[in-house]
């Protein structure tokens, strides 16, 4: 069990400012209202003169964007040393939410487990502090509870903040978190039982509100979803929903769990790049909704049709990951719903599948 403290808002701000001396600090900042009239929060680099916002729900950017990049160099041709992984800068990420943490489990599984560990990812993971927070509100698209993910983190953070009165209940979740507290001991005060009770009450009330928001939506459940996508393999749903897809890849890129990438080559002395560079290997985020994602040399493509690509995405999330990790690769953050110019809604796709397969049996 790790420790738990209380920290006043002004002290938390001071903590963030202090951290900028040794770390790159990122925190969500409110953007102008979007078309749904909900406020959006977007990550900005935090500086000595910034003040910390407490985002009521997740930011626009997925947590993965701190650990893999849309475009990054992963190796040189040919480096002499076998162990060429630069130590990344110490980083702190504020404003992480429960869905992000749950979704990020997929990224950890992909890059930290399996046949080999991705040393680049691991280094970034080791040198990044995750400071999460309870949700105190939700977006229209939020549906974490449908996947049995609570809107407050209980694991996977270094420090979690739950707003209460003029400050935060600060729960430590890791050894790294304990070290952080030890270095800034004077900012924290011991927790009182009443504050723990206060946190519980706030959490329960948000869960209640979110339940009331989700119940009428009649969403597909965690334990039925794998069977559903298996049985719905030949469903019309895939085609019907993909009529409006413009293949922007937005849903893939903004997803907390989508991890696909493509290794590419960077040529030495390419126009537009600094001269004298070495040939290098790049890693680019890739999207299974792109037409050429699955194309093999010679041109054969098992996902020629858009419907096949949507099905590929859903069987990956709800069949592959349930088989291989025991959980679906959706955390209910709803980012893909907001980003999609074609208005394709993951909740609706699953519901439509459920209806189609029900009709058949």
């Amino acid at each position: 069990m790790y420790s738990i403290y209380f920290i006043e808002s002004s002290k938390l701000n001071q903590l963030a400012q202090d951290l900028t001396k040794t770390h790159r600090v990122f925190a969500p900042v409110e953007k102008r209202a979007n078309f749904t009239c909900e406020a959006d929060f977007s990550y900005k680099k935090f500086s000595l003169s910034s003040t910390l916002d407490f985002n009521p729900y997740r930011a626009v950017e997925p947590l993965k964007s701190f650990f893999t990049y849309p475009h990054e160099k992963v190796a040189d041709y040919f480096s002499a040393e076998k162990n060429v992984v630069d130590i990344p800068q110490e980083t702190v990420v504020f404003g992480v939410k429960s869905c992000d943490i749950a979704g990020h489990k997929i990224q950890d599984f992909v890059f930290l487990e399996g046949v080999e560990v991705d040393a680049l990812y691991r280094a970034k993971r080791e040198h990044t502090l995750i400071i999460s927070g309870d949700c105190i509100d939700f977006k229209q698209v939020c549906h974490c509870l449908a996947w049995e993910i609570l809107p407050y983190p209980t694991w996977g953070f270094d420090l979690n903040l739950s707003p209460l009165n003029e400050g935060f209940v600060a729960e430590v979740g890791s050894r790294k978190g304990e070290e952080l507290i030890a270095q800034h001991k004077s900012l924290f005060v011991p927790i009182r039982d009443a504050q723990i009770a206060g946190r519980r009450a706030k959490r329960e009330s948000l869960v209640d509100r979110l339940k009331r928001h989700l119940l009428p939506q009649n969403l597909v459940t965690k334990d039925s979803v794998q069977k559903l996508v298996q049985q719905g393999y030949n469903a019309k749903t895939w085609k019907e929903f993909m009529l409006t897809c413009v293949e922007c890849g937005g849903c893939n890129f903004i997803c907390d769990t989508c991890h696909c990438f493509l290794l590419e080559e960077k040529k030495q002395n390419q126009p537009g790049l600094p001269a004298g560079g070495q040939n290098a290997k790049l890693r680019l985020w890739d999207a299974c909704l792109y037409a050429n994602y699955a194309r093999v040399a010679g041109g054969a493509n098992p996902n020629k049709l858009r419907a096949q690509r949507l099905r590929f995405r859903f069987t990956k999330k709800f069949d592959f990951f349930v088989s291989n990790l025991g959980i679906p690769a959706c955390c209910g953050c709803g980012r893909c719903i907001e980003v999609c110019p074609g208005k394709i809604d993951i909740r609706e796709v699953l519901k439509s599948l459920a209806e189609e397969t029900k009709e058949k049996t």
Partner: protein
């Protein structure tokens, strides 16, 4: 900690023309490199492109690796126009090799189509190296025409080996072709193998594998004894990039060789 994306350097020592669109590239690695038959590598032209290939050389020969490549896409075309002595990048080996121990004491039936004989050649070398361990090795190889046959000099030599039975067929013959004419499935009828104590290993274009697999099931092969080489657009080779997914598997790390028993129940495996 090891950077899993780092390519090692190999020098392209020799280029052997096999057919009008197939060449074998002989590469000497600058660092220790070894593989088991059936494993694949990612081969790159630095700064230009990378693609997966299964080596075709003898896994017991450590100094050099052969990669037999058919001109099919961008990277393979560039390789085909490459000159000797350039540096190439090698990553791997990746995937599971053939489980040779499981073949001990059995009739090993190998069926190849076109350039699919390339990975099988490295398997054949592994089998020949311990031929006493197997009951016999039967190779059935199909090519489009006599001109499309790879390893033309080697095949008759292999056929002379003890316990080895080889037959080649072509879809379309030529005036001086003395062998069989017909699709690969036509030479699978009177096989000198005991299906109850045999394994079948198939590598070739998807359409050929599809029909050969059906034929083998017809002949009474157990799906657990049929080994198929699956082709997907692999990128990382490490089970991370997602591209090669086949149902609940990644072709790169769980394959590229699968038994048909593993693939039963997965939709559209030949697409």
């Amino acid at each position: 900690m090891k950077n899993i994306y780092r390519p090692i350097e190999g020098i392209l020592e020799e280029i052997i023309t096999e057919t009008s669109n197939i060449k074998t590239f002989v590469i000497r690695s600058k660092e220790d490199f070894s593989f088991r038959a059936g494993q694949f590598i990612e081969l790159s032209i630095p700064g230009i492109g990378e693609a997966p290939f299964t080596p075709s050389s003898d896994p017991n020969v450590k100094e050099k690796i052969d990669v037999t490549v058919m001109k099919a896409g961008r990277v393979t075309s560039l390789l085909h126009s490459a000159q000797k002595n350039i540096s190439l990048g090698i990553r791997g080996p990746y995937g599971k090799g053939y489980p040779l121990e499981k073949f001990f004491g059995k009739d090993v039936l190998i069926i190849g189509g076109g350039v699919g004989l390339a990975p099988l050649r490295s398997l054949l070398f592994s089998l020949f190296a311990q031929i006493d361990k197997y009951n016999k090795v039967v190779l059935r190889y199909g090519a489009r025409s006599p001109a499309d046959i790879v390893y033309k000099q080697a095949i008759p030599e292999w056929a002379k080996l003890n316990k080895v039975d080889i037959m080649t067929t072509v879809d379309v013959g030529s005036p001086d072709w003395q062998g069989n004419v017909g699709l690969i499935t036509t030479v699978l009828n009177d096989l000198p193998v005991d299906v109850k104590n045999a394994v079948a290993i198939v590598c070739g274009p998807p359409i050929m594998m599809k029909f050969v697999n059906l034929k083998l099931l017809d002949l009474g092969f157990d799906p657990k004894d049929i080994y198929l080489s699956m082709e997907k657009n692999m990128s990382c080779g490490l089970g991370k990039c997602g591209h090669c997914r086949l149902g609940k598997y990644y072709t790169c790390k769980d394959g590229p060789v699968f038994t048909y028993a593993q693939l039963q129940g997965i939709n559209d495996i030949w697409d």
